[in-house]
């Protein structure tokens, strides 16, 4: 058996369904766009059901129900049921706040496959401070317990930054005590609101080096007990990440109001034309939408990517990041040490501040 990739390429595998932008938390690293979509513009239950059916027909196997906080939608159980009916694997990505015992039981009955809960720190006070919500930590742990009581698999998502990077070991211990079978160690990525807090979130190079060593040791120590997936901290990497597995290649993202994006930050690139599921089928959008065709493949890439042997592995990195840092969405992602603009990343990675966060309110 082969992992990911070997399933026929160029048919999407994953759908990120952003059900709402509403969220009770105020995390300083929120990666949602600066302009949030309004409740009255959100797709209705029936439209989501149609989208799931079209996604499955297109090849999508897994659907990630996200937001904002997806539980802010009262029709979440119906949404899960319709995704399951379409044959999709259903993954709930939640803050854990606002998901009642009743809700999670309804979701279980609707056929939910997996739950991912974000936890901000192993220390309750620090966790609540980062989330900007008093009592959030206790609610997250209570939901985790309920998830396990129902026999659902649990992933704990840990977003890592300056305030918690020294406690990765304790956070993994917390995930183990909550009976999670998988933990995601995701260093902050600087998109959307997170850009406002970049210096307040940025760890030092030494902290990142220690964390990388620690994660490798934790993986070995907990082998067979918990799966540890780690997302490399962008600004301290040598090579860039392969943006969503390649632009318009593996996945698609539907916003609360129905816009279909190649990745969830794609709206930060000016001039792209996104199509909406209210006007087009998902198949038409996947094949014909100008935004999806803007950076497909590698032909658009300049040097040093054009002649680089990693070209088909990382696609020159992230288009949104290339635009955010250089002003040119076609440029080599400056995270790459081969980029002529790599100095931009080195400079930004050296800027830290102890100033308070600008919470997302």
């Amino acid at each position: 058996m082969a992992e990911n990739g070997s399933v026929a390429t160029h048919k999407p595998l994953g759908l990120l369904a952003e059900l709402t932008h509403r969220c009770p938390l105020g995390c300083p690293y929120c990666s949602n766009p600066l302009a949030l979509e309004k409740r009255e513009d959100e797709l209705d239950t029936a439209t989501w059901a149609r989208v799931f059916g079209e996604a499955a027909a297109l090849g999508v196997l897994q659907c990630h129900l996200s937001g904002g906080e997806p539980a802010a939608r009262r029709d979440l159980p119906e949404i899960v049921a319709s995704a399951r009916e379409a044959g999709l694997y259903t993954n709930l990505i939640t803050s854990g706040v606002g998901v009642t015992t009743r809700t999670i039981r309804d979701l279980w009955e609707a056929g939910l496959d997996h739950v991912q809960i974000s936890i901000q720190d192993s220390d309750a006070v620090s966790s609540d401070r980062i989330a900007g919500y008093r009592g959030a930590f206790a609610r997250k742990c209570a939901l985790a317990a309920e998830v396990k009581r129902l026999g659902l698999p649990l992933t704990v998502n840990l977003v890592i930054h300056r305030a918690n990077i020294e406690r990765i070991g304790a956070m993994v211990d917390l995930a183990l005590s909550l009976q999670a079978t998988r933990v995601e160690i995701a260093h902050v990525q600087y998109y959307g609101w997170a850009l406002k807090n970049r210096a307040a979130l940025m760890p030092t190079r030494e902290q990142v080096a220690r964390a990388t060593t620690e994660v490798e040791a934790l993986r070995q120590r907990h082998h067979g007990k918990i799966v540890i997936d780690a997302v490399v901290p962008d600004y301290h990497a040598r090579y860039p990440k392969p943006c969503v597995g390649g632009w318009g290649r593996r996945s698609l993202n539907v916003t609360p109001s129905g816009k279909v994006l190649p990745c969830h930050a794609a709206e930060s690139i000016p001039g792209l034309e996104f199509w909406n599921v209210r006007d087009h089928s998902l198949a038409d959008i996947w094949i014909g939408s100008p935004a999806f065709n803007a950076f497909r493949g590698t032909d658009f890439l300049p040097e040093p990517c054009a002649s680089c042997e990693r070209r088909e592995a990382d696609f020159g990195g992230c288009r949104c990041q290339a635009f955010a840092l250089t002003g040119d969405a076609r440029a080599t992602d400056p995270v790459c040490h081969l980029s002529p603009r790599h100095d931009l990343v080195t400079e930004l990675a050296a800027v830290q501040t102890d100033e308070p966060y600008q919470y997302r309110r």
């Binding site: 992992e3 399933v7 044959g87 993954n91 992933t155």
Partner: protein, 95 residues
């Protein structure tokens, strides 16, 4: 294969909740769906996994596969052990 890696003959392997073997028309084959992971199941993996119901013992699965495919039992046993251990390490199978 070492002794430590052997699977007990009476173990009843099963896919836990959240891990599903499913056929995808659009992707043209069987896939094992798990948290944030997709595995393409080839014909052999599919034959093994569809028997992991939690009701059949490891021994019976191997016997059944050996009879169905008219293959040496030792060879089948080694293949099934390798596949199931790999999945169990990733928490995708319960032994």
């Amino acid at each position: 294969m070492t002794e430590a890696n052997a699977i007990a003959p009476d173990a009843k392997p099963r896919l836990p909740r959240g891990v599903r073997l499913t056929h995808s028309e659009a992707q043209g084959g069987w896939v094992l769906l798990a948290p944030e992971r997709i595995f393409k199941a080839d014909a052999i993996a599919h034959e093994i996994l569809k028997r992991c119901t939690g009701e059949v013992t490891f021994q019976a699965i191997v016997d059944d596969l050996a009879a169905t495919f008219n293959a040496p039992r030792e060879r089948i046993s080694a293949d099934v052990t390798a596949l199931l251990h790999g999945l169990a390490d990733k928490k995708l199978l319960e032994l």
